[in-house]
C-alpha cells in the first residue's frame, strides 16, 4: 500500500468530491465524469435481487471501466435516443458520511434525490449511494459507485442518464 493510499480524507474533501461528481453527471459533462474513475472502476445500479452475487444476477447497470467508456461513447454519438435530447437533471446529495476504510479506499455513504425532466414528464429518482474513493497520482478518484434506488423492486422508467 502506498503512502498516498493511507492518506486520510476529511469529510469536507469527501463532500466536495461527491458534489463535483454529481454536477458532472447532472450537466452531462462526460469527459470530466469519465476522468474521475480508476482503471478498476465499478459503476453498479442493482435491480431488485440480492446483492451477494452481481455476476450471477441481472443488474440495471454493472459497468466496469471498459463498459463505462462504451456507455459514454454511445452518449457522445448524439444518437443515443434515450438521451437525445438529454434529460434536464438536478440532484441533491446529502447525509454524506465517511463509513470506513477498506483496502486503502475510503467508503462513503450518501442519500440523493434527483429530478429528471424530459418530454415524458418530470420523474423523481431517489436512493442511497455508496462511493469508494481513492488517492491515485495525487488526485482523488472514484473506484466504485453503487446506487441503490428506493424503487429498485418496481418497474423503472428508462434510465438513460448518469445516475
Amino acid at each position: 500500500m502506498t503512502v498516498a493510499g493511507d492518506r486520510e480524507l476529511d469529510l469536507r474533501q469527501v463532500e466536495q468530491f461527491v458534489y463535483r461528481e454529481a454536477r458532472y453527471a447532472d450537466e452531462h459533462d462526460y469527459d470530466a465524469w469519465e476522468a474521475l474513475w480508476t482503471d478498476d472502476a465499478l459503476y453498479w445500479v442493482p435491480a431488485g435481487g440480492d446483492l451477494a452475487d452481481p455476476g450471477g444476477q441481472m443488474s440495471v447497470i454493472y459497468d466496469n471501466r471498459n463498459r463505462i467508456s462504451t456507455r459514454l461513447n454511445q452518449l457522445r454519438t448524439g444518437r443515443r435516443y434515450a438521451q437525445t435530447p438529454p434529460s434536464h437533471l438536478r440532484r441533491v446529495v446529502s447525509n454524506v458520511e465517511v463509513l470506513g476504510r477498506e483496502g486503502g479506499d475510503t467508503v462513503v455513504g450518501a442519500n440523493f434525490i434527483l429530478a429528471e425532466a424530459r418530454e415524458r414528464g418530470v420523474m423523481t429518482w431517489a436512493g442511497r449511494t455508496t462511493y469508494r474513493l481513492r488517492w491515485a497520482d495525487g488526485e482523488l478518484k472514484l473506484a466504485a459507485k453503487q446506487v441503490l434506488l428506493v424503487n429498485r423492486d418496481q418497474p423503472l422508467p428508462t434510465l438513460g442518464f448518469l445516475i
Partner: protein, 425 residues
C-alpha cells in the same frame, strides 16, 4: 369453478375495418375500449406466457407473476406440479401473497387469517363456529386456479379459457424455436434464474410485440451502440443480409439469422465469440450431441416473438406485461443454459449491458415505443403502414410466409392473428 374473469362489455369498434392486410389504424394503440376487448379476447382467452418452471424449482417455491392485469402466484406443490393461482382471498378479496417470491406450503391471508394450501385449497379459517364449524365451507371456497396451464421446455403458458386450442396447437411452428434454444444447453434445459429487470414503458404493448422481429429498425435505432462497439449485429439486418423474417403462424414470428451464420460457418459466432474462447462449453456440446453439435454451434439461438408476450432474443428472454392502452412493463432476463457455466455469466454480463431501463440497446427501443405512442395519438394520417416487402414475400417449404431481413412480414402475421382473435365471438 366459475369463470373468474368477467367478460368485458363488447363496446369496441369493428376490428375488420381497423386491421387491413397492409395497414392498421392508429386507434388500436390508444382506444381504452380496444384495450378492454384485448383483455377479454386475447389476454384472458388465448395462451399467454407466464413464467418458467426453473423459477419454482423446489416443492413449495412460489413467485408472483402477471397474466394480463391478473396478479397470479405460480406455485410448485408437494406433488411437483406447477399451478397458477389468482392472488385473491375467497373471503374479502385481500392479497394472500405480498412477497415477490419465496417458499411456503401455504398462504395465509393477513386480513382474517384464512389459510390456503399452495394448491389453492382452503385449509383453515379462525373462529370456525361462525361458519357452522370446520368442514362447512372448505369445499366451496378456494383460491381460483387459472383453468389451463401447460408448459413447453419449462416455459409455462396459461389460458384463462377452460377450453380452446391446446398449447401445442397454439405454439405450432414456434415450438421448434424454443426447442432450438434448449438445444444450446448440453443438458437440453433452459433456466431463467438470473432475476428480472422491469422496465416501465409509456406505450401500448403491441408496439413492443411488433418491434421484436422488426429487422428494419436496428441499424437506425441502435446505430449508436453498433458504431462504438464495432458490432457485427447491424449487418445481420442490412438490405444485403441473407437473414429472413418468417411468419410462423398464430401471430408468432422470427428473424431467422441462420442463413448468415451458416454462410460464415464458424461455431459460436452467433454469440460474438469463437470456440477457442469457450472450450469447456464446446466440449460439453460435442459430448452431448455428437456430430449434430456442429450445426447447433454454428446456427446459434432463435430470435422469436411468441404471441402475445414472449420474446426470445438469442440470449435474452423478454415478457411484455400490458397495463393500459398507453402503458406496459417489459420484463427481461438473461438465458441460462443448464450445463454451460462458461456461457452463463457471459450471457448475464452481455444482457445487463444491453437490456432493461439503462440497457444500451433496449433504452433506445423504449424511447422509440414512447415516441410512437405519442405519434399514434395524432389524428392524421390515421394509419400505420405495414407493406414493406409485401411484393417480394414468398412461401417456404414449410408453407410459411418469408420476407427479407428488413421486411414487415412478421408484423403482418401478428395482425392477421390479432384480427382473428378480436373478431372471434
Amino acid at each position: 369453478m366459475t369463470n373468474p374473469v368477467r367478460d368485458a362489455t363488447r363496446t369496441g369498434p369493428d376490428y375488420g375495418r381497423l386491421v387491413e392486410p397492409s395497414r392498421v389504424h392508429g386507434s388500436l394503440y390508444t382506444d381504452p375500449r380496444v384495450f378492454a376487448d384485448e383483455l377479454a379476447r386475447i389476454w384472458y382467452r388465448t395462451w399467454v406466457y407466464v413464467g418458467h418452471e426453473s423459477e419454482v424449482a423446489q416443492p413449495g417455491d412460489y413467485v408472483r407473476k402477471a397474466l394480463g392485469l391478473q396478479d397470479v402466484i405460480m406455485t410448485r406443490g408437494a406433488d411437483g406440479q406447477v399451478r397458477l393461482l389468482l392472488n385473491r382471498c375467497a373471503h374479502r378479496a385481500n392479497l394472500v401473497c405480498e412477497a415477490d417470491r419465496g417458499n411456503s406450503k401455504s398462504f395465509r391471508c393477513p386480513y382474517h387469517g384464512w389459510t390456503y394450501r399452495n394448491t389453492g385449497e382452503l385449509i383453515g379459517f379462525p373462529f370456525n363456529q361462525g361458519y357452522g364449524g370446520k368442514g362447512q365451507i372448505e369445499g366451496e371456497l378456494s383460491l381460483a386456479a387459472v383453468p389451463r396451464v401447460a408448459s413447453h421446455r419449462g416455459f409455462v403458458f396459461a389460458s384463462m379459457a377452460s377450453d380452446g386450442p391446446d398449447l401445442a396447437e397454439h405454439l405450432g411452428e414456434a415450438a421448434g424455436e424454443i426447442d432450438r434454444l434448449a438445444r444450446l444447453s448440453p443438458e437440453g434445459k433452459v433456466e431463467l434464474t438470473a432475476g428480472w429487470l422491469k422496465h416501465r414503458t409509456q406505450a401500448n404493448w403491441k408496439l413492443l410485440a411488433e418491434n421484436e422481429t422488426d429487422g428494419y429498425h436496428p441499424q437506425f435505432v441502435h446505430g449508436s451502440i453498433f458504431s462504438v462497439t464495432s458490432s457485427p449485429i447491424g449487418a445481420l439486418y442490412s438490405d444485403k443480409s441473407a437473414a429472413v423474417t418468417r411468419n410462423l403462424g398464430h401471430g408468432h414470428s422470427e428473424n431467422d439469422l441462420r442463413p448468415e451464420f451458416r454462410r460464415a460457418g464458424e461455431p459460436m459466432r452467433w454469440f460474438g465469440t469463437t470456440a477457442e474462447r469457450v472450450p469447456g462449453y464446446v466440449r460439453a456440446m460435442r459430448e452431448a450431441y455428437g456430430p449434430a453439435a456442429e450445426q447447433i454451434l454454428v446456427e446459434g439461438a432463435p430470435h422469436v416473438m411468441i404471441f402475445p408476450n414472449l420474446f426470445i432474443a438469442e440470449i435474452q428472454v423478454f415478457v411484455i406485461q400490458p397495463v393500459s392502452a398507453g402503458e406496459c412493463v417489459q420484463h427481461s432476463t438473461a438465458v441460462q443454459l443448464a450445463g454451460a457455466p462458461e456461457l452463463n455469466r457471459r450471457m448475464i454480463s452481455q444482457s445487463v449491458g444491453s437490456v432493461g431501463p439503462a440497457g444500451m440497446l433496449l433504452a433506445d427501443d423504449t424511447e422509440m415505443y414512447e415516441r410512437n405512442q405519442h405519434g399514434v395519438a395524432q389524428l392524421q394520417p390515421e394509419w400505420l403502414d405495414l407493406r414493406r416487402g409485401l411484393q417480394r414475400e414468398r412461401t417456404d417449404e414449410r408453407g410459411l410466409k418469408v420476407g427479407r431481413a428488413t421486411d414487415e412480414t412478421a408484423m403482418r402475421g401478428f395482425w392477421t392473428h390479432y384480427l382473428s382473435l378480436m373478431e372471434a365471438a
